[in-house]
């Protein structure tokens, strides 16, 4: 029997029993759609995080105080216990390195802002004028912290858009005096809203000169030092320079950790990829279930069409021909189901993107290929048994069933 005829015969057989055909197509479609939508969600989450990181600013190297656990435990480190403070002078020393474009120290603490008769808890971030460019933020009103000696900052503050909204409403904030903890500061600028970011929400932060923040919290150490490399290729150089400079300044001790945005990103990326794969795996179970359903449907088909199988044998069909016809039918059910499911999945992802525009819910290619492959594979795999059963039927017995 010619392949084209086998396919046509299988197609007619499938469409000849619309109910059972549509049921197994539906099961397969749901399985594939589940994989597509769930991986779109997982991969969307990954992309979202990646985008958020990119929004941190490009070519960023971050210095934090203390040795990271990944550095390994050494007795020498253990003896000299407490790390030295990561100070503003340390940060300033980094500005002189060749691969460094900009440096911004960051000291963070909590306080209360009191202005316009309102009181509110806020996060206070002490930094310098360079911070604005490193983070690529924009001003809504006024200007960012002025350029000044890092150790002698003016009594000024820049507030996030949400704080501005909550305290001043529509009234202008720039030029107003506010009380932050026990300080009186003048507002010089309002940041443009950047929405929910990773970590702290910048819209709810009050930025002050780093020296003001350190006085306020009575602490010398910085929370982070953000360094922007001159180019992407110089990130590694910046890492080395920062480590070397700070080691020298800290009496030869490696008591800081330098991380790059890339490294953090890679970790998140890996984590979320694993998560997506896991979700895909769980969704794939529904494909296996669909495969079993296809098998059942095909077994029913073999029983239902026993007389027909006997007839085909009487008319000279070889066992292989009958097996191929039933395999082709199972493959068609899976294939149509898989592509229907793919369509449904894309539609689902589209709806997700419409509902959450910030969330790039696109299914990854590998998931689509895997889902279609698994659907076809399971369909064929589970089609083998019924097809062989059909091929092995005793023609005399089969013909008696009608």
């Amino acid at each position: 029997m010619r392949s084209a005829d086998i396919l046509r015969f299988a197609r007619d057989a499938a469409t000849g029993y619309p109910l059972r055909t549509s049921l197994s197509v539906l099961a397969m479609a749901i399985g594939v759609a589940a994989v597509v939508v769930l991986t779109a969600l997982g991969d969307g989450a990954r992309r979202y995080v990646v985008e958020q990181f990119s929004a941190l600013g490009s070519n960023l190297v971050i210095v934090l105080p203390g040795r990271s656990a990944t550095g390994g435990f050494s007795p020498a480190n253990a003896v000299t216990t407490t790390p030295r403070d990561l100070t503003v002078d340390d940060a300033f020393a980094l500005t002189r390195q060749p691969s460094v474009r900009r440096v911004a120290p960051l000291a963070v603490g909590n306080s209360e802002i009191n202005a316009n008769g309102r009181l509110r808890e806020v996060v206070v971030a002490g930094t310098t004028s360079t911070y604005l460019d490193i983070r690529s933020f924009n001003m809504a009103q006024g200007a960012f912290l002025p350029e000044a000696d890092w150790n002698r900052g003016a009594p000024v503050a820049v507030i996030g858009s949400k704080i501005k909204q909550e305290i001043f409403g529509a009234a202008p904030a720039v030029g107003e005096l506010v009380r932050l903890g026990d300080r009186r500061l003048r507002i010089v600028g309002v940041l443009k809203s950047v929405g929910q970011g990773l970590g702290m929400n910048t819209d709810e932060v009050v930025f002050v000169p780093v020296s003001v923040a350190q006085n306020m919290f009575n602490s010398n150490t910085l929370f982070r030092v953000l360094i922007e490399a001159r180019s992407r290729g110089e990130i590694e150089a910046v890492k080395q320079e920062a480590a070397a400079v700070l080691k020298a300044r800290h009496g030869g001790e490696e008591d800081i950790t330098v991380i790059t945005q890339d490294a953090v990103l890679a970790t998140f990326d890996k984590l979320l990829r694993a998560l997506t794969a896991a979700v895909a795996g769980i969704a794939a179970i529904s494909l296996a279930v669909a495969g079993i359903l296809v098998m059942n449907v095909m077994l029913v088909a073999v029983t239902q069409r026993t007389g027909e199988i006997g007839l085909l044998k009487a008319l000279g069909a070889r066992g292989a021909t009958i097996r191929n016809a039933f395999m082709a039918e199972a493959a068609m059910l899976s294939l149509v189901g898989a592509f229907t499911g793919y369509g449904l999945g894309l539609l689902g992802a589209f709806v997700l993107r419409r509902m959450y525009p910030v969330f790039p819910a696109y299914p990854p290619d590998w998931a689509v290929i895997a889902a279609l492959g698994t659907a076809l594979g399971t369909g064929l795999l589970f089609g083998i048994m019924p097809a062989r059963r059909a091929a092995r039927l005793d023609p005399v017995q089969a013909l008696m069933k009608h």
Binding site: D5, L315, G316, A317, P395, L399
Partner: protein, 233 residues
């Protein structure tokens, strides 16, 4: 050389503890172009014999030569090829594929044999015309009368121009008049040289054949060729 030569054929069915000798040491030879009626009481082994002749079943003992070739020793695929090219079946219950049209049903053996679609279409059209079914080509079996269905089945059985046509109670599901039409059709085919073997309960139909084989308890009791005409009952 006989078209069909059976020697010492036995077919035994085991049902639990009991064994049924459906065919018992059967020796028959049928020449090309013969018109044979197989008759006998229910359970006498007529259908079993026909299935064996059609290579749908294998004997437990004995040999079967078709056109001089021992076909009992062939592999299943070789037997399928013989069924495809040399044997045509007509069944009591027509056995048409319900989702296929009359034309598609007739084309089925050619499709299974891998004959190209263009040739199929042409041969099916000719066959439907020969059997007076050209206006029913696109009808599905449930849109056809019993007689028309059996005509489609006969067209299908003969489309590959087999050497022998095997019919098990071809009129069993038909009324007298349509049954006679079908028999006339089969006899016309026989007159054009096709060997015709018909299993029937119907004395009248059986007596129209030139040769009668009377079966009883799996044995051949009477062969009109060997023993002369049937004793008047």
């Amino acid at each position: 050389m006989s078209l069909i030569r059976l020697a010492g054929i036995e077919r035994v069915f085991h049902l639990g503890d009991s064994t049924v000798h459906a065919l018992n040491r059967l020796d028959v030879a049928i020449e090309s172009g013969e018109y044979v009626a197989i008759m006998g009481p229910s359970g006498s082994g007529k259908s079993t014999l026909l299935n064996l002749l059609g290579l749908l079943d294998r004997p437990d003992a004995g040999s079967y030569h078709l056109e001089g070739r021992d076909v009992t020793t062939l592999s299943p695929d070789e037997q399928a090829a013989v069924r495809s090219r040399r044997i045509g079946f007509v069944f009591q219950s027509f056995h048409l594929v319900p989702r296929l049209t009359a034309a598609e049903n007739v084309a089925l053996p050619m499709m299974l044999a891998g004959i190209p679609a263009a040739e199929r279409t042409q041969r099916v059209a000719q066959a439907l015309k020969d059997f007076g079914l050209d206006r029913r080509a696109d009808h599905r079996p449930d849109q056809l009368s019993g007689g028309q269905r059996q005509r489609v089945a006969i067209a299908r059985a003969t489309i590959m121009q087999p050497a022998v046509l095997l019919a098990d109670e071809p009129t069993g599901n038909l009324d007298r008049a349509t049954g006679d039409d079908v028999i006339n059709l089969l006899e016309a085919l026989n007159q054009r040289g096709m060997t015709l073997i018909v299993v029937t309960h119907d004395q009248k139909i059986g007596s129209r054949a030139r040769r009668q084989l009377m079966m009883e308890d799996g044995e051949l009791r009477h062969d009109s060729l060997r023993d002369g005409a049937l004793p008047a009952a």
